[in-house]
Symmetry: C2
Subunit: 367 residues, 2 copies
């Protein structure tokens, strides 16, 4: 994986760059939709390409449990399995082990947990996380971390930072440098001193990129922004920075301002399946009765397949009737919106007007 | 609507023809997938076109209840509402009133029933059925009939034939000849004398086409075939014949043998959503564990999007994980299979080898 910074915003930490993988290049800041189980829900690979997606995230925890990483490896890896020609980033499984599984027990070696699918017992530590992600064959893999719960006291988080650094070293030892880029994950909760410590320790180990984990887990927006802005300076400027699990359009703008290059979140896809659509005029809930006879597209400024082919009235009908097509059309629209937002952000950075863009987005003159 | 017979099978009642509507032409025998609520479940209009679909069926009963025919009319009709450029046939609502609604009460004027959605009371008779279908703007509309339950005694069915003929006259009176073709529906249960009577009465009224209703409701295959073969001779040869709600590939071959030109059934689409796929090698249940690591396409002889892009292993994973993409990919495959079957049937008729084709399909040498 290659990364180069191509432009710096003169009045914020925002920057543009380009990442090149064995599965194509893309510009940053970039948003990665989530394909939890090896499918971005309701979309085909062609749908993703058409909405402008060049890199997606898949969940190691889910694919490990079902259908199994060895099965995917025997079938030629995740790209071939799901027939996706673009890039793939897999998370380490850590976050899902803590948030989805039952009866987890953390030791110095890793985490023992019960599957949320069938209650079976499993163990994932740094070695296993590297092994699983190698089998999946993703372009970017993540080090195994301990994501502290929120809230957690300073002592708990200090220990989680210690474990995360220890596991990061093990991940690097197991990692064969080659086709897969390995990112470290900075932990430290909402404690600036621990975030600094975690960032410094990981940076000294030398990863291909650095993620900020354990955010967007309950803390408020100001706290998150303070933590992100306080952490970025301790990460090497020549490596990509990835803010995990974020987020809302305004949160992405915050992250970009702080110098973040990569984002992922289930928000646009999950919201789409709940009928909550993003538009340039603000949010639109397609089940609202006011759209029953509305012949306009979801967003009159949108060029996505959904907006160029179907009315709000039809989309509302599909949603109310629980027609499967509703989920696909809504998801295409929301991902197109996110791709457009990221494209506008990059253009604004390149033209040295990002802070103006951000201000007018967050406080639109008339909305 | 224009219909012309282009070829007759020398050794059976099978025939090829061409139907031309304001929304395109297509060859017969034709299979119409079912888009109950104004959407063939899980597919976009482009998906349908790509699988070779040129005409689909939509359900008057469902669209009348939700979103309402007047709403669809105000939005420019069903074609525009669902953005479908091909032809549409709507049923009369009769069958669903009998099979889905509660507390129905049949009078000489029509049927009072309670909505399966919210229990509200509605009335549909022949005038209402014509009015609703006119509002929907479908290319082919169906007369309102009384579909007798199965089994039903001779007296009951005789009365249902009487009502159906009476309502057929009312439908013709209300129908403005023009863009929409109106088909009559032959009833008569499994009684040859009543089928003959119904067919003769409807034929004397002069419809644009004739359907056989009230079949595939529980009678065995031999009985159905006897009824179809016994009824067709009383229908005008120059008009299309439509066997409603049929069916399985073997039932379609039976119908074609008897001279049927049009078919519809939820089977390929519903089976797809249950993981039951049609292949040239016989049925395939994608959830079967034997496909977990099967790298082959569903059908190695199939050129559909699903078979040219995804393995059985991936389709099984999607199905087991209840991923929405599974329903779309499976449906594309099954409809492609049906389109291919109909194309092969037409080719065989044109080349005077339909009875051989039918025999080898029903009794394959090695399967």
């Amino acid at each position: 994986m290659q990364f180069k910074v191509t432009h710096h915003c003169p009045s914020s930490g925002a920057r543009c760059g380009e990442i090149t993988t064995l599965h194509g290049s893309f510009e940053t800041p970039v948003f990665m939709p989530v394909g939890t189980q090896g499918s971005v829900k309701a979309l085909s690979p062609e749908d993703l390409e058409r909405t402008g997606v060049r890199i997606l995230l898949a969940n190691t925890y889910h694919l490990y449990l079902r259908p199994g990483h060895r099965l995917i490896e025997r079938l030629g890896g995740l790209h071939r399995f799901m027939n996706w020609k673009g890039a793939i980033l897999t998370d380490s499984g850590g976050f899902q082990v803590y948030s989805l599984s039952n009866l987890r027990k953390i030791s110095e070696q890793g985490v023992t947990f019960q599957s949320h699918l069938d209650g079976s017992t499993h163990f994932i530590g740094p070695r296993e996380a590297m092994d699983i992600q190698k089998a999946l064959g993703s372009d970017v893999i993540m080090a195994f971390d301990e994501c502290a719960p929120f809230p957690a006291d300073h002592d708990y988080v200090r220990n989680s930072v210690r474990l995360t650094s220890q596991w990061a070293r093990t991940c690097l030892e197991c990692h064969e440098s080659g086709a897969q880029a390995l990112f470290g994950i900075v932990q430290g909760g909402v404690y600036p001193d621990l975030r600094e410590q975690s960032a410094r320790e990981l940076a000294s180990l030398g990863f291909d990129g650095y993620a900020l984990g354990g955010l967007s887990v309950g803390e408020d927006r100001e706290t998150r922004q303070r933590i992100v802005e306080g952490t970025v300076p301790f990460l090497p400027a020549e490596k990509p920075r990835y803010l995990m699990g974020v987020g809302k359009p305004e949160d992405i703008l915050d992250g970009v301002t702080a110098g973040i290059d990569m984002f992922d979140c289930v928000l646009p896809t999950r919201n789409a399946r709940n009928g909550a659509l993003f538009t340039t005029q603000g949010p639109l809930s397609i089940k609202n009765a006011c759209y029953a006879e509305d012949d306009r597209p979801v967003d009159e400024h949108c060029s996505c397949y959904t907006c160029t082919h179907f009315s709000r009235a039809y989309l509302r009908h599909l949603f109310m009737a629980k027609e499967l097509l509703a989920y696909r059309l809504n998801t295409i629209h929301n991902l197109h919106y996110y791709a457009g937002l990221m494209s506008e952000i990059r253009q604004a950075i390149k033209e040295d007007r990002f802070t103006d863009f951000r201000r007018s987005f967050l406080e639109p003159p008339e909305r």
